[in-house]
Symmetry: C2
């Protein structure tokens, strides 16, 4: 019996193994199809990614010409390697990031090269025995100091990469001097190849379908405001419908778009950091007030936190007494819709860089509604009130009052941006067909996005701004 069961087991194992092998091609094929689908999706979400990959290939091929052509190779030799290295490491997605890394690398190499040559001469003057000891000491001290300096927040934000290259170059130059005699020649060759590599990066990055971090930031901030605006408008409509019993589940899910605003802090800070490296382009001057975008972004997130609280009440059925509900409904609906309209106007104003005058009207409408609500509530109720049933209505009223204040603050900071960045004062007429087109594109995008969680920060920024950029890429 025992032996029989063992042989049965063996036979089972064998069949399983056979099955596994048989199904292997099918599973491999399924995996391949999945990867192909994801590839298509990533390329479609932001076509600039495909273009970026082509640009990297172009820059690397350009730089590798140094190896193929005899006259170029004669003048640089093996140092041409540094040009390739620079291109691989410096070429980033946006112009600002590339420029920042390129400038950091160039300046750090120059400085550290000079210091390294100095350290070499100082050490070699002390004689053959003391030289390696002194060089080791220099390397240790320099590495210690530079690594510690990288912890300074100001340095970390803008010059982290420069500090890394500083440590690297200083070590390489000062130590190489111990073995190579033509240390100045070497430093010179290396510096010039790095400059060539960095220049190729910057030129390709700026002149072939440039991706501006500043533009991405500009659009991200405007879109975030718009998302909140859409939610508030939608919420207002939900309230006004709710008593009539008709509730659209679709509307509720599409309103959840605002959630991405809550975690936008990092993306905004990274983009603002890159934007500061960028030269003037399009509508943006060299010293565009990028910091003001961070301020607007921070206010938007505060507002989003309140909107999130409001969202808690959209899913719970509000069963307040009819008297109260009816009384408050009109004013709360107005507050919500007017706030939403104000935010959408503000978003449009930022997007088109025109004066946000029309938004102010909606803001004051919302404020009037808030005042009306207050006086309504003060008037009091004669009925016997079940406080538990009042709570949701009271909470919604309270949160909406806070939101109106928030919207006013956002409007103020957008006004500030308008005066800082000299937005044009004439109002652009809204082309209604165009606007509905944009909305259709966006809702399609939302549908595509809602199926997966966007993981990386930079990516989310790209996805969010991809809609506008599709058109731009078509032209190029």
């Amino acid at each position: 019996m025992e032996i029989g069961s063992v042989s049965h087991e063996k036979a089972g194992c064998f069949t399983n193994g056979l099955m596994w092998f048989k199904s292997l091609p099918r599973r491999l094929f399924a995996k391949l199809v999945e990867i192909a689908k994801q590839t298509k999706k990533i390329g479609k979400d932001d076509p600039r990614r495909v273009i970026h990959s082509l640009k990297v290939g172009l820059a690397l091929t350009l730089v590798s010409l140094f190896y193929y052509f005899q006259p170029l190779y004669n003048s640089f030799g093996v140092s041409a390697m540094w040009a390739i290295m620079t291109v691989v490491v410096v070429f980033e997605f946006s112009v600002g990031a590339t420029l920042g890394k390129g400038l950091n690398r160039g300046m750090a190499t120059l400085l550290a090269g000079a210091l390294g040559v100095g350290a070499h001469y100082l050490a070699s003057a002390t004689g053959k025995v003391a030289e390696p000891i002194l060089l080791g000491l220099f390397v240790f001290l320099q590495a210690f100091t530079s690594t510690f300096v990288r912890f300074f927040p100001q340095v970390k934000a803008r010059y982290d990469y420069g500090m890394l290259i500083f440590i690297l170059t200083f070590c390489l130059v000062s130590i190489s001097g111990f073995r190579v005699d033509e240390i100045v020649d070497m430093a010179h060759q290396r510096l010039s190849t790095i400059l060539i590599g960095a220049s190729v990066c910057v030129i390709v990055s700026i002149f072939v379908c440039p991706v501006w971090a500043g533009e991405d930031l500009h659009k991200l901030v405007a879109q975030n405001i718009e998302k909140l605006g859409k939610f508030l408008e939608g919420f207002g409509e939900e309230i006004s419908k709710s008593s009539e019993g008709e509730e659209s589940k679709d509307a509720k899910t599409s309103l959840a778009e605002y959630k991405s605003v809550l975690n936008s802090k990092n993306a905004e800070e990274i983009l603002a950091n890159f934007a500061r490296w960028e030269p003037g382009h399009g509508q943006f001057k060299y010293r565009h007030p990028w910091k003001q975008y961070l301020k607007i972004g921070s206010l938007t997130r505060q507002c989003a936190c309140k909107v999130d609280a409001l969202n808690g009440y959209i899913n719970s059925e509000i069963k307040a007494p009819k008297e109260i509900k009816g009384m408050i409904k009109e004013t709360t609906t107005k507050m919500s819709i007017e706030s939403g309209k104000a935010l959408k106007e503000l978003a449009r104003s930022v997007k088109t860089m025109t004066s946000p005058l029309s938004a102010n009207k909606h803001v004051s409408n919302a404020k009037t509604a808030a005042k009306n609500l207050k006086s309504l509530l003060i008037s009091g109720f004669s009925e016997d009130i079940n406080l538990l049933e009042v709570i949701p209505v009271a909470a919604v009223a309270s949160i909406l009052t806070d939101i109106v204040i928030c919207v006013e603050e956002i409007a103020e900071s957008v006004n500030e941006l308008a005066s800082l960045a000299h937005f044009s004062s004439k109002e652009t007429k809204v082309d209604s067909t165009k606007e509905s087109n944009i909305e259709a594109t966006q809702s399609r995008k939302i549908h595509a996005c809602s199926q997966h969680v966007v993981i990386t920060i930079q990516e989310s920024a790209q996805v969010q701004s991809s809609v506008q950029l599709t058109d731009q890429n078509m032209k190029l």
Copy 2:
């Protein structure tokens, strides 16, 4: 008159210039003092930073020995440069980050080196004319594909650096082959020096005062829960005091500590990513459930968003009618304090890795209080109610009810963590003197931190975990 005023102006300019020059030393000195202060502060906030800088210096000095000793130099030659480069680029603050980068670099170099050699032989077989064209094509295709693959979220999260090194090594090896004949020798030398550099990094990183990303994540999550607990306890005390007229301004400002929880997403994700590279250490096994920490962190942030809403009412005077206020006060106070205690217990359970049984008692207390509140509210009021005055009370009650649900969810996920990570089931007795010591240290830290805004994420993670690690560093 005109001439007179011009000469006056000139004299003014001159005096100004003189003043500027005279004040220069003073201002330089002031700047130096400021930098010295900041240096001291950065070192004091997290002494591990100083140790990290020393470790980088040590690793670089060790690797530079390859240049100084003739026998070592004979076997590697100029390739020793790659060891230095590897150390500079791979050495990171935590063990996980260093290991991740080191493994990425090693594997990518191996793979790309092999492919590069293959590409070289394939191209050279086609003859002298076609060789550079074919090589250029290979470089372009490889750079394009690899750059695009870097956009895949799964790749970006864990293998981004590896992809970068893959592009670099493939280009260098395949193109160098066009000029250097001993391409296999070169690839071999380069690979072995990179492996040596990476090993030095990993050894120094693990065996000299290691900084574990996993431990940082563990502490960060526990601290975030604790911060919310502290707020809720403090808030409960504020409510119970409020009717007695005594309000402590100090308490209000110290409660704002929870704000940092709102933006902790990024720090947690980065730390969890690094932690997955780390081997088992201390209480953490190799496959510790790091993902569960992210789940707890996400619930904690949801709770923090609600706490933020609650915080809006701590500053606004609540003028509800006495009857309602008195009735609700006791239960809301209990809800707030019990939730706070539950969170603090959960934080302690995570910190000490013991079973969170005692927290469950507080959670059920809070739930009972919430039920009581509900039945109190249902009983209704006979008085004429001014709804405007009821709103703050109603809102606080509503938010607190939500928070109790949130706390229950957090407790559930901590229980899940406890069973996944096999927390010890015996309860540790809380040593009261020790606990008060920790609190004193923390309040000192809060005081120090409140004066500046922490900018970078990684930094904030370090600051948050610095308290616990001070002791550890003292020992080493």
